[in-house]
């Protein structure tokens, strides 16, 4: 997995790839740009543009809530959310970029590897919001100021509490291989979801591909987005999910939905979702304003409270009733590793699961 070959992702479609070497050389020397505050001048400039286009893989209702909160705080700047699975967002941006279409202002992906690719291809704008500069831990921001962690969460096991008693629920990934779960598992797909791409990488590394082969024999129901398995659980379509967003489980269970999380004893895959803005952003000032807002304590607390996400902003508070993040055993994240092997992961996965 650490083989130093140049993956196809490095050669991000088209001409930008040629610039990689040169850009990198200068970037290493340059420090991150100075932090930007939200000034009245920035707000004014953003209002002139009037809108910001946000490509994201955050579950749609939550993404629209963030958009509405932003619009309420900065009236006159409308947010349009373009939501699909992170791998599709990535494909879309690549495809649009190759055709010289520049529609995206700000992106938030659930596959941290994407930011690495975009940075290498010299597509990202160096922009450091005040909150990121002041509060964000070093490991959660790019040294060159290209991106920072907007959200953190885990991909977890969960079960439908109407269909499974607490004591019968699986405790670990290994438990999911028990024959009693045959035909009862739902899981999302790494070809569409960045969360699942990241999770599949970590699980394949820690548990081996053999685990997935055995899981496939359980006749799992395959869906696309990591936001979907929690919703299928809530419908009662399947009893257990093998992977999916922790935050959707919180969101559903806190509204009284019959789902409960399980933090696998092997550790839960850790997912980090960086936000970045594009150099070619059609609405650069609105993009800056939105990016800056998304890292504020206010927005971060919002995604915790209504979204069930985790934040690395130190001024935010966990919501009572949820397992504190520090108490969860997580697998180690490795965006560079994902970046190098994502194509291989997709191929192996579709060979094993037939889709």
């Amino acid at each position: 997995m650490t083989k130093p070959k140049i993956s196809r992702r490095d050669v991000l479609i088209g001409s930008s790839a040629l610039a990689v070497g040169a850009t990198f050389a200068t970037r290493v020397l340059s420090a991150s740009p100075p932090a930007t505050e939200i000034t009245p001048a920035l707000i004014e400039a953003a209002k002139k543009e009037g809108k910001v286009i946000w490509y994201t893989s955050v579950d749609l209702p939550l993404a629209e809530k963030v958009a509405k909160a932003f619009e309420a705080k900065f009236p006159g700047v409308a947010v349009r959310v373009e939501r699909s699975g992170a791998e599709r967002v990535f494909q879309r941006i690549g495809q649009e970029n190759a055709s010289n279409i520049h529609a995206v202002d700000v992106v938030n992906s659930s596959d941290a590897a994407h930011s690495i690719v975009w940075k290498k291809a010299n597509l990202l704008e160096a922009f450091v919001p005040e909150d990121v500069a002041k509060f964000y831990p070093v490991e959660h921001k790019d040294p060159d100021g290209m991106f920072a962690s907007f959200r953190v969460w885990v991909s977890i096991i969960a079960y439908n509490t109407d269909l499974v008693k607490k004591e019968d629920a699986p405790k670990s990934f290994a438990d999911l291989l028990d024959p009693k779960w045959k035909n009862k598992i739902v899981k999302a797909h790494p070809g569409y979801s960045g969360t699942i791409m990241t999770a599949t990488f970590q699980m394949a590394r820690d548990l081996g591909w053999g685990y997935f082969e055995k899981l496939a024999a359980q006749n799992v129901m395959q869906v696309q987005s990591s936001a979907d398995p929690p919703k299928r659980l809530a419908l009662g379509e399947r009893a257990v999910m093998a992977d999916g967003n922790e935050y959707n489980i919180f969101e559903i269970s806190e509204k009284g939905g019959p789902v409960a999380p399980v933090y696998a004893t092997e550790g839960s895959p850790l997912i980090v979702g960086p936000t970045a803005m594009f150099k070619t952003a059609p609405n650069p000032n609105a993009a800056k304003l939105f990016t800056a807002y998304s890292f504020t304590q206010e927005c971060q607390q919002l995604i915790i409270n209504v979204g069930g996400l985790r934040s690395v902003h130190p001024q935010t508070k966990d919501k009572p009733g949820r397992t504190p993040f520090k108490d969860i055993k997580v697998m180690k994240d490795d965006p560079a590793g994902v970046e190098a092997t994502s194509d291989e992961i997709k191929q192996k996965y579709s060979k094993i699961f037939k889709v």
């Binding site: 992702r9 629209e64 699909s84 494909q91 529609a103 995206v104 035909n183 979907d228 419908l235 579709s350």
Partner: protein, 571 residues
């Protein structure tokens, strides 16, 4: 005695007749529309990712199970769906056209309703109804029998489930062909058989069935092709069912890193099979068209069903519950209930989904705008092109009219997703960089709509005798003028029906749009696909119901335009 007739000099105008340049212009446009994407498709299928010539794509296609499994699956689905469609639609078409079935107009309207329903929406609705555990029908079944939670009656996530859903929204094609053919078949032939002593079954076997056979065969073929090239229903159902069809496989090849050369290669079997089947149909039927329209015939004799009338009617209604009543009830339920597959009660009803779609879903207004623009533009342009070509071929107006007719029919052989791939390859590079604009979608939609629009209008032209135009021409009008002043008014109803047909087609279209959209050019069908990806079924239901209302509103509005008369909307 001779009467001197004063020599009347017809007021001839020596204006330039623009007919030929206009027609050749159309031919050139059609060539570009069809030939360009197909050429790129062929070229790409024969190159590797670096652009060198190779056969490796085809080698992979036929050696890797991840490619030929979907091919086999697709073939099974298409064949079975075609059989199911014929088995359901042919008897129903006969009942409606040839018997004294009560309320046959209602049955026709319901078939139209299932035709208007986008297949992907139908698939989502059937997910709500027949998912093994959460499906409403399975819940009812368990409620009645008291069965265990895991026991289910239906499972939509199976190959049978997909065949069922595809058949639900494909059988209208067969129904319309069969019913129209029976409508046109005169009763005299059957009467002659009876008079000569043929019994009812003998007449049916020797007269009616052979007469309707070409239509049935054509219907089977259309159903097969539809099922083979459909993207919507498999895209919703195949992934949870754990397999790919050819169309979903082609779509997955656009995942990052995109492999357009493999997608092109995978598209070609669909194209080749379609062309082959169309040729085969032509060879089987040959010239065996039954020229049954001509002169004045009595209305077809209706066979009295006696006491079976109401039984037949109820059976028809029961069958039509599957594509129409049940799915719309499921969507309605999901739109207003707190959780998509919880039964709606007065207590738990919520407007949350409506509120979400109307006020929170920021991509919706743009998608709606794009869809309406594209629907209107495609319908208008497509109808115009189809009118001209239908005229030229019906009147054999220029040399080479056959070519024009062929070009207008050719897109029928290009599955939507294949066309999408071809257009993507054609219009993402100079000189035509159209990707990212509505133009590329317009081109795709016009191309897809052209064959059926052309065929409908050609049929309409055949009902107008050329002598009317000839009179106008003799009096000195150019062809375009006589077309405009004589033929066009007579064609009104046919034109409006075609316009509506194309508009509805645009609302239904997903397979080319899914390849060609960008965030700025998203249409409703793609938005629904995106919402399905993350399982937002409540929002989908609201949009789906809204989409249907728009469709009905547009069709009704167009039919109400003063002076256009009332068109019976027929597929």
């Amino acid at each position: 005695m001779t009467i001197a007739i004063p020599a009347t000099q017809p007021p001839r105008k020596y204006g330039i007749d623009f007919t030929k340049p206009v027609l050749y212009g159309f031919a050139a446009v059609l060539c570009v529309l069809i030939v360009l994407p197909l050429s790129w498709l062929f070229l790409y299928s024969l190159t590797d990712s670096k652009g060198a010539l190779t056969l490796a794509n085809f080698y992979r296609l036929f050696t890797e199970s991840s490619f030929y499994d979907p091919l086999v699956t697709t073939f099974i689905i298409a064949t079975t769906s075609a059989i199911v469609c014929c088995a359901v639609a042919a008897p129903m078409g006969w009942l409606v056209a040839r018997t004294d079935l009560p309320f046959s107009g209602v049955i026709r309207a319901l078939v139209t309703a299932s035709f208007v329903t986008p297949p992907f929406l139908g698939a989502i609705a059937w997910e709500l109804l027949a998912a093994p555990n959460s499906g409403l029908l399975n819940k009812i079944f368990r409620g009645i029998t008291g069965a265990e939670p895991d026991v289910h009656l239906f499972n939509i996530y199976t190959i049978q489930g997909i065949i069922f859903v595809i058949s639900c929204y494909t059988f209208p094609y067969v129904f319309v062909l069969v019913a129209n053919s029976l409508d046109r078949t005169p009763g005299e032939l059957e009467d002659a058989s009876s008079i000569l002593g043929g019994g009812r079954w003998y007449t049916a076997r020797r007269i009616t069935i052979p007469l309707v056979l070409p239509a049935l065969l054509a219907g089977a073929l259309v159903a097969f092709l539809q099922a083979m090239t459909l993207f919507g229903s498999p895209a919703i159902l195949a992934l949870p069912a754990g397999f790919h069809t050819m169309t979903t496989k082609i779509w997955s090849l656009f995942q990052y890193p995109p492999k357009p050369e493999l997608a092109a290669a995978a598209s070609l079997p669909l194209l080749v099979l379609t062309v082959f089947l169309l040729r085969a149909e032509h060879m089987i039927l040959g010239r065996r068209g039954y020229s049954v329209v001509g002169g004045k015939y009595g209305a077809p004799r209706l066979i009295p069903l006696h006491s079976w009338r109401w039984v037949a009617f109820i059976i028809c209604l029961l069958v039509l519950m599957l594509p129409v009543f049940l799915p719309y009830m499921a969507l309605f339920n999901a739109a207003f209930s707190p959780v998509a597959t919880t039964f709606l009660t007065f207590k738990n009803a919520t407007l949350h989904n409506i509120q979400f779609v109307l006020f929170d879903l920021s991509a919706a207004s743009l998608a709606l705008k794009n869809t309406v623009i594209l629907g209107t533009a495609t319908a208008t342009i497509g109808t115009m092109i189809a009118v001209v070509i239908a005229y030229v071929t019906a009147r054999r107006a220029v040399t080479g009219w056959r070519v024009l007719g062929f070009l207008a029919t050719a897109p029928i052989a290009i599955p939507g997703i294949v066309l999408g791939v071809g257009l993507f390859l054609s219009y993402t590079r100079p000189p035509f960089v159209l990707y990212g604009t509505l133009w590329i979608l317009l081109i795709a939609f016009v191309t897809i709509a052209l064959p059926s629009a052309y065929q409908q209008l050609q049929a309409a032209f055949r009902t107008i005798h050329p002598e009317l135009e000839d009179a106008s021409r003799i009096l000195g009008a150019t062809r375009l003028r006589s077309l405009w002043e004589i033929t066009a008014p007579l064609l009104r109803t046919g034109v409006i029906a075609t316009w509506c047909f194309i508009f509805v087609g645009v609302m239904r279209e997903l397979s080319a749009a899914i390849i060609l959209f960008t965030s700025e050019t998203k249409v409703i069908s793609v938005l629904i696909y995106d919402l399905n990806e993350s399982g937002d079924l409540g929002a989908i239901s609201v949009i789906g119901i809204g989409m249907l209302l728009i469709t009905f509103a547009v069709v009704t509005a167009v039919n109400r335009i003063p002076g256009f008369g009332n068109v019976r909307f027929r597929n």
